[in-house]
């Protein structure tokens, strides 16, 4: 089973929840898909033993063959190529690696070479098969790294994918085609606003979902009312507790600070299993 943990709003507790869930279950593979700012390793402290470079194929223009016909720049949907009178300018960060320019060039003046944008690392954190992606500084595109992580998914395991904040392409790449998405929110106006956006997003991509309300008690009950109105299942309410916040600040997982919560996380997993059986049955 593949379970994604997302939120919309940053800082609600995605990594806290995904790490605690991973530590409460057996036979787990953990994917930290927040490749811009991966933090799960701070809590799971994995021993890394494999590294994969993530590369995008980008054009290399042989200007001796090039006749500056501009067909490559005209095809390029990402403004990565600009053809001047006697010069071709290439902007590597804009390139999505689609291969269109090398395909279209009538002079066959364009070949492709690999450009590194980041790395995927794999290792073990206790019994957990741990994978994280790290985007290189200055690189704009997270999804290719998330795709590489997902290619390492072991379907025989319970796979937990820790998503980045937001609702745009890196989040979509993380949560698409998973079996269930846990949305972590906080009971505040910002939390509710972003939860609504996240709910629309998971509905759009057709992934069953439920909500965990973290830091319960710090704000108001508007999130509860929203979930009730929208028939969104609330899987768990985690009361704000200074011990959890202090543990978090030191890199200590929630279920290490409060081991009794492991039962609640196992219950989340059971209720997800029940929900999915009901969906398919």
């Amino acid at each position: 089973m593949k379970i994604a943990v997302a939120s919309g709003k940053g800082g609600t507790g995605k990594t806290t929840v995904s790490v605690s869930l991973a530590l409460s279950l057996d036979n787990v593979q953990f994917l930290d898909c927040d490749v811009e700012e991966p933090n799960a390793s701070i809590f799971l402290k994995p021993e890394i033993n494999e590294k994969f470079l993530v590369e995008i194929p980008v054009p290399e223009v042989n200007e001796e063959k090039c006749d500056y016909c501009r067909k490559c720049a005209q095809l390029c949907a990402f403004n990565a190529l600009v053809v001047l009178a006697e010069k071709v300018l290439f902007f590597p960060e804009m390139c999505h690696g689609c291969g269109g320019c090398s395909y279209i060039c009538p002079q066959q003046a364009i070949t492709e070479k690999n450009r590194e944008i980041g790395v995927v690392e794999r290792g073990r954190a206790g019994d957990i098969d741990f994978i994280q992606g790290i985007l290189n500084i200055g690189e704009p595109m997270a999804p290719p790294i998330i795709k590489k992580e997902r290619s390492l998914i072991d379907p025989s395991k319970t796979v937990i994918l820790d998503a980045p904040p937001g609702t745009s392409c890196p989040v979509i790449e993380t949560i698409r085609a998973t079996d269930f998405c846990i949305l972590v929110t906080e009971p505040t106006p910002f939390g509710l606003n972003d939860l609504k956006l996240a709910v629309e997003t998971v509905r759009e991509i057709n992934v069953p979902f439920g909500v965990v309300i973290n830091q319960h008690g710090i704000g108001d009950d508007a999130v509860e009312h929203y979930c009730n109105r929208e028939a969104v299942p609330i899987l768990m309410r985690i009361a704000w507790d200074r011990r959890i916040a202090e543990g978090y600040s030191k890199g200590i997982p929630m279920v290490t600070v409060l081991p009794e919560l492991k039962n609640d996380f196992r219950n989340i997993f059971s209720s997800i299993q029940t929900t999915l059986q009901q969906c398919s049955g």
Partner: protein, 290 residues
């Protein structure tokens, strides 16, 4: 006219809380919310929309099944696994259009997508430019660039001193679009190991794009030891810490009342935010003096 972007690396550190307070404290500002896929600044500033425009992030391929012979050339060419059973998945499609070129039957066309909207609004603190990215849409960086450009134009027209930009979390394309061309970034961090790790990456990103940075340690008193590590890290990097804001539940109360921490009495938080604004505006406007 200066542009200040408030970023964080890590989500949830308090960017929007601080942006809304600065919006109140800055006498002559245009506000801009560049967290286009999870915008929250409007919840405090309550904008009245004056102008709305649709935004296209790109195109998506569409296969005409009447013309399609299912030869598979498009599937072979597509590097994004966007074509399954000879139907284009609009979420996977990156809009490169290569399939339209390889199709021997000319059965594929590109259709421009409306991927969101951007707005120019009035608020109690000045003109605000903001946006809403469509659900499950991509290319948020391009929408951020549109918002940035519009905010800059308006600031110049209205002869404002500053554009204050609420940035997104992370370090990828929407963040890059929020900071390139800005005069300064304020990095809001928190005294947690995650906050410290993410602050370093976002400071590296600002440095990569040659943009000067200042740092604010929000909720600094929840872990004084980590706060000291952040101060030390910043010192070693030659980055100034301009604000140390304590944790206080009144900040959430202010949010519920739709007020910034500069309008609502948040005790020491309010005082520290005012002091920080003075530090930031001094640093920002001192740049023009020699």
């Amino acid at each position: 006219m200066k542009q200040l972007t408030i970023i964080s690396g890590k989500g949830g550190t308090g960017k929007t809380t601080i942006t809304s307070a600065f919006a109140h404290l800055a006498p002559n500002a245009v506000l801009s919310d560049c967290d286009v896929d999870a915008a929250d600044l409007h919840l405090i500033l309550e904008p009245a929309i004056k102008h709305k425009e649709s935004y296209s992030g790109g195109s998506v391929a569409f296969i005409d099944t009447a013309k399609c012979t299912q030869c598979g050339s498009c599937v072979e060419a597509c590097r994004f696994d966007a074509i399954r059973n000879f139907v284009v998945d609009p979420i996977s499609c990156e809009g490169c259009s290569l399939c339209t070129y390889v199709c021997p039957e000319e059965a594929i066309v590109m259709k421009e997508q409306i991927s969101g909207h951007w707005f120019v609004s009035s608020t109690r603190e000045g003109t605000m430019v903001h946006a809403k990215l469509g659900i499950a849409e991509d290319n948020s960086g391009k929408l951020v660039s549109v918002v940035r450009q519009k905010a800059k134009e308006i600031a110049e027209e209205e002869k404002k001193d500053i554009v204050i930009i609420d940035g997104p979390p992370g370090i990828g394309c929407p963040v890059i679009a929020s900071i390139t061309g800005a005069d300064m970034v304020l990095v809001v961090t928190e005294p947690t190991l995650s906050g410290l790790h993410d602050m370093e990456r976002v400071l590296d990103t600002a440095k990569h794009f040659s943009i000067p940075a200042l740092v604010c340690i929000n909720k600094f008193d929840i872990n004084p030891e980590n706060s000291a590590i952040i101060e030390d890290t910043c010192d070693k990097r030659g980055v100034r810490v301009v604000g140390r804001i304590p944790y206080d539940k009144s900040v959430t109360a202010a949010m519920i009342h739709k007020k910034s921490a500069a309008e609502y009495d948040c005790g020491d938080v309010s005082r520290e935010v005012v002091a920080m604004w003075n530090n930031v505006s001094d640093a920002l406007f001192a740049q023009s003096e020699g």
